[in-house]
Amino acid sequence: MDLDLTKEQGFIKSSAREFLKKECPVSTVREMRDDPEGFSRNVWKKMAVLGWQGIMIPEEYDGMGGDFLDLALILEAMGEVCCNGPFFSTVALGAAAIIQWGTEEQKKELLPQISKGNLILSLAVAETHQWYGLDGIQTTLTDTGQDLVLNGAKLFVENAHISDYILCVAQGPGEGLSVVMVDPRSPGVQCSPLNTFAYEKQCSATFHNVHIPRANILGTLGAMREGLEGLQEFAALAKCLETVGVIQAAFEQSVEYAKSRKQFGRAIGSFQAIQHHCANMVVDVDGARLISYQAAWRVAQGLPASVEISMAKAWTGEAAKRVTALSHQIHGAISFCDEFDLHFYYRKAKACETAFGDVQYHLDKTADRLGLV
């Protein structure tokens, strides 16, 4: 047993932190929230030079050939600066889906472009009146004999407005679920950004009689439920790692502040109430990291990880709310200012919790695995 990062993993993490601190400090979130695109193309290109977009893409498709742990470490570093932008949706969702489900032709065409930073992808699952998971999807895909026709409306499609392809989950043809790649410029597609809590560019997307060429089918028509469940678990875990970074940074900043802020002639960190807040954060942050790393390691090893992922998502979600709320409490009124960066962490922590299943959803899934009934 060795719970430490290897030398190479340590290097990935520290170089990612360094790069992001310089290129994408947390203040960028403030600049980007009013930017229609919501990210800097320049930084995106630099990430591609470092090979980030291709981190999990096999070398034969011009990727880095890394495993899930490598991606995990980059996501953790991104969490530390609350990095928004198309990395998550392109790499942790889009590339992952194509690697798993793509035909040889699709992989050859798309994966090298993703590695180069030339493609932006998004995944469209959620719909109004739907909850977490895959039940209740009403967007339909019908087969006309020639091509396929997509109709429906999606919510929370991150970066749909700048995507080259939206990977859209739909019901049909017939019984099961399918995934198709939709070019958002096709006739009948409309995307508009939503005003959301953590300033990501979440969009609503509507599809009205959108014709989809057969070449854009991902995986097997009508047989994608199991695969999608796997992808959503994977995405939930990726969110855990992002969350770990978010709360690590909020925690560190709070301890620093507790040491430097003086009231009553002494550092507020000398008050036991504040010390106990900080100590509680240690348990939350370390617990979140260990349980997320464990699940990431299992995924990287190709071991079953569903229950570990659900436990990780439930714990990190709860921990993240506690840690970021305590960070605000320790900082006092200054943290209630927009000018002060801490609220980006508080927002991001909550947004990560609601993505791909919240605490309650994953506790239920964990309970399901306990064999209670």
Binding site: F197, D338, D358
Partner: protein, 399 residues
């Protein structure tokens, strides 16, 4: 023991309720967006909201509700503290734009400890709603440790000259006078060297810089004093007695916890649950949701009881200090709990901020989830309230 209102209290409550209902625009509940316990979302959304709030206030002045809690000789009704508590409860339940700290805090404080001159200068204007004040207590280095304020006021002839800085000054930009504590004796004892001085915002040398809070609302400010010359008659009471007056002012603040807003918030959330189905079943049948709402309902009940207890103690002539700290603690922690539960119940839809884009409950949940941060910080943090309960209340040693 009597866990119900007296006939007189009931009659007062009914009269008040009738006034509020008739004076508020019928769709006010869909527009008011303040969060129970929060200090940051006090702004209304549109110009129309602001106008309606003003007109409600004017009706209060016209019909004598504005100063209803004041002694009879100053135009009030000389209410009991219980009636006062009922007043705050009903107005906050209906989220009426009625809370004006000058009538609730400064007016009564001046009436109690002010000089005759103070009363002449300030009381009539406050009563008519023409004078509105902001609280100038906190400074960058004096938050929880209020006694360490550095703003100075030096007497020069019949003026004080103020220098220094205040911060977190809520609504300083929307009121016309500051109720400022400043050090008037640089060598004196921590608690016997500060004074309360009223400063006209328009005096040369006063600079108000807006601070935008995390909800995106301009609710508070930094205020700078650069050789600000204030008439000496703006000193409230006696020089160097400011800290004691502050305690008096605090007594008047004790019932201002927006208690009714918590019940309203719970009802709003229950209403959403009632109207909503999830996975083909009523949301109200979900055991997790039921448990959350039931826990909050019990918490709201506890908060109300702490509230009525504080009012009872005041009517008995006792000064509730531990009890009001417990009230502040329990309500503001409830503010957070209610926000958490709202977000959890809305799930993914809690991320939507804009009602026009489908945000449930008028977008209140995410705003509340932000505003509740201020609840446990503003007006004395939760840690400070716990310290007060432990040391002053239980006699635990502080070292």
């Amino acid at each position: 023991m009597e866990f119900q209102f007296t006939e007189k209290e009931l009659a007062f409550r009914a009269e008040l309720e009738e006034f509020i209902k008739s004076a508020l625009p019928p769709d006010w509940q869909e527009r008011a967006r303040s969060w129970p316990g929060g200090y940051g979302a006090m702004e209304y959304d549109s110009e129309q909201d602001r106008k309606d709030a003003e007109s409600f206030k004017q009706k209060m002045v016209d019909e004598g509700w504005f100063t209803v809690s004041w002694p009879k000789e100053y135009g009030g009704r000389g209410l009991s503290n219980m009636e006062q508590a009922i007043y705050f409860e009903r107005t906050s339940y209906y989220r009426a734009p009625s809370l004006n700290i000058a009538t609730a805090i400064m007016g009564p404080t001046i009436l109690q400890i002010g000089t005759e001159e103070n009363k002449e200068d300030w009381v009539p204007g406050i009563a008519k709603g023409e004078i509105e004040m902001w609280l100038g207590y906190s400074e960058p280095d004096a938050g929880s440790d209020l006694a360490s304020i550095r703003t100075t006021a030096v007497r020069e002839g019949d003026e004080y000259v103020l220098n220094g800085q205040k911060i977190w000054s809520s609504l300083a930009h929307a009121s016309n006078y500051g109720w400022v504590i400043a050090r008037t004796d640089p060598d004196g004892h921590r608690h016997r060297s500060v004074s309360i001085i009223v400063v006209d915002n328009n005096t040369p040398g006063v600079a108000i810089r807006p601070l935008i809070n995390i909800i995106g609302v301009h609710s508070f400010n930094e205020v700078f004093f650069d050789n600000v010359r204030v008439p000496a008659r703006n000193l409230i009471g006696q020089e160097n007695m400011g800290f004691y007056y502050l305690m008096t002012a605090l007594d008047f603040e004790r019932l201002i916890v927006n208690i009714g807003a918590f019940k309203h918030g719970l009802e709003m959330l229950c209403g959403y649950v009632k109207r909503t189905e999830r996975g083909g079943k009523p949301l109200g049948a979900d055991p997790h949701v039921r448990r959350k709402l039931a826990e909050i309902a019990a918490r709201v009940e506890i908060a109300y009881l702490f509230y009525w207890r504080t009012a009872t103690l005041l009517d008995q002539g006792k000064i509730p200090s531990v009890e009001s700290s417990a009230l502040k603690l329990v309500t503001t922690e409830l503010s957070r709990m209610l926000a958490n539960a709202s977000m959890e119940i809305l799930g993914p839809y809690s991320m939507l901020m804009d009602p026009a884009q489908g945000a449930p409950m008028n977008g209140m949940a995410p705003r509340g989830y932000l505003d509740c941060i201020s609840a446990t910080i503003g007006a004395g943090t939760s840690e400070i309230q716990r310290n007060i309960i432990a040391t002053r209340g239980l006699g635990l040693p502080s070292k």
